[in-house]
Amino acid sequence: MKALLIGVAVAAAILLFLPVAILAAHAGGLRAAITNPAGLDAVVTTLGSGFLALVLDLVLGVPLAWVLARRISVSWQRVWGAALIVPLLMPPLVLGLVLAYVVGPASPIGGTVDLSNTFWGLVLAQVYESLPFFVFTAWGYLRTIPRSLEEDVWVLGKKPGETFWFVVWPLARTGFSVAAAMAWARIVGAFGAPIVVAYHPSALPVAIWIQLQEQGLPAALGLAVWLILVALPLPIWLNWRYSDAERPNL
């Protein structure tokens, strides 16, 4: 039984890393990919828009996750849990098409500020693709922190704001960092929504698509390696920095 478990785990690990190995084997020269001006532009665009999208995810997602975990009764939390799955299930391409309705030149909003094919249009598309993942993950973590931990210091005269930073944050930051890492992975990999809303300026996934069309697979894969290199430091840092955070049940 134990041998079988280990065998399955090893097979799963191989399956998981196989695409990375194939990518490494078949990618064209990394230097060629990045010296191509389009490639360099895509890296800069991805980092810039991705950073802003992540900040927006945090600004919007932390309060929403907190309200869902703390201000909603348990029975309504079930309803919200089900409701949150809907944006999670939206295919990114469909998200892009819907967004195009809203921000495109034909809509009242887009008629005023046309976001399509702009940097901010790209940021918006990335936020839409990633925010549900952030909220769902952060909410799941926050719910595991007993509410009594907060109540027990409210009755000692501590306000909810002070309580959040002194009591909740040290327990919640692991959850928030995992949620941020998930959101970041969605942001840098966002393709479906950006290809509709923000073909230009192209972030890496769209740039890979363009390279594939114009120069073939090896060039596209070279850029894909860059995507991984660019995306990796933040989740690694988050994991290293916060994985040892306090657990509420200790």
Partner: protein
């Protein structure tokens, strides 16, 4: 001074508490914790009005009431040291914290986290934290129950001695001896009903269950007006003595249990026997009992 009027689906009654120490006494499930949570504002209740020193506080959030609460379960912040959490809530001078730290014997545990403390030590630390938060009204929900007895007595003595004159301490307990030893007054609760506050020297049983909690062993019908005479081992003398308020003929049998304890059984014709334990007696039977301070009520009933 705290006045409250409560009319909730599962909790009702009204009371006025003077400053000092009041024991909230009741069996498990009588509503003591519900009362405390309602008073702190942790549980919202539409049917509560509460004033402290004439000021209404029932609409304020928990952190804005002059009430500090130590619940029965462990309540310390798990990832902060005792020192850190006490300093975080501290609103009294450092000297007070130092004094209490010594009384509660927390010096050695000061820089530890709660998981490194035993149950009793955690209760001492939680009490320390509440005292540091400068309570005008302190609610202790069986908050010293895991502390060993000699230490608990030191703590109660210190609470009595160091209490500010205007301070009000409420503690819940299901042990009558604790209420009797440390409280200035008693607030009795039974099945969600809060009975009126009684000063300790004059406390009377208000229900058969309260009588049992207080240590009464049984009641006998006393007169035609429907009054009952309650029997408490502390108020009974063996035999028919003179110069007592009541000398009750009957058969008292005393059976030794140990060199220090004996079983008493008192029987009056037409009534079920009443039993209790007490100190050994020189004789095996007596012609009745004498009662020095009789307690009469208009409810009776035998207790299980």
């Amino acid at each position: 001074m705290l006045s409250a009027q409560i009319s909730e689906p599962r909790l009702h009654g009204q009371f006025s508490l003077p400053s000092g120490i009041t024991a909230v006494v009741g069996l498990s499930g009588s509503g003591k914790t519900s009362l405390f949570r309602l008073m702190t504002g942790l549980d919202a209740g539409a049917g509560i009005s509460m004033t402290t020193n004439g000021e209404s506080v029932a609409c304020r959030p928990p952190y804005d009431r002059p009430i500090r609460y130590v619940p029965q379960r462990p309540s310390l912040i798990p990832h902060r040291t005792i020192a850190a959490q006490v300093q975080w809530v501290q609103r009294v001078p450092d000297a007070d914290v130092m004094a209490w730290r010594e009384i509660l014997q927390l010096e050695r545990l000061w820089d530890r986290k709660p998981r490194q403390l035993s149950g009793g030590e955690q209760q001492r630390a939680a009490l320390m934290r509440a005292l540091a938060a400068n309570p005008a009204i302190l609610l202790l929900d069986e908050a010293v129950s895991n502390i060993d007895r000699p230490h608990r007595e030191t703590i109660w003595a210190a609470l009595r001695e160091r209490r500010r004159p205007d301070q009000l301490i409420l503690f819940s307990t299901h042990e009558w001896s604790e209420a009797e030893s440390w409280a200035d007054g008693i607030l009795y609760m039974e099945e969600g009903v809060i009975h009126p506050w009684q000063p300790r020297p004059e406390v009377q049983p208000l229900t058969p269950t309260m009588a049992r909690l207080m240590g009464y062993v049984g009641a006998l019908p006393w007169n035609r007006a429907g009054q009952w005479l309650w029997l408490h081992p502390s108020l009974i003398e063996a035999g028919l003595l003179e110069d007592v308020e009541i000398a009750l003929p009957g058969t008292l049998t005393v059976t030794p249990l140990s060199p220090l304890r004996a079983q008493y059984r008192f029987h009056v014709d037409g009534q079920p026997p009443i039993e209790w334990t007490g100190p050994p007696k020189p004789h095996a039977t007596y012609a009745g009992i004498s009662i020095t301070r009789p307690v009469m009520t208009d409810f009776g009933g035998l207790m299980s």
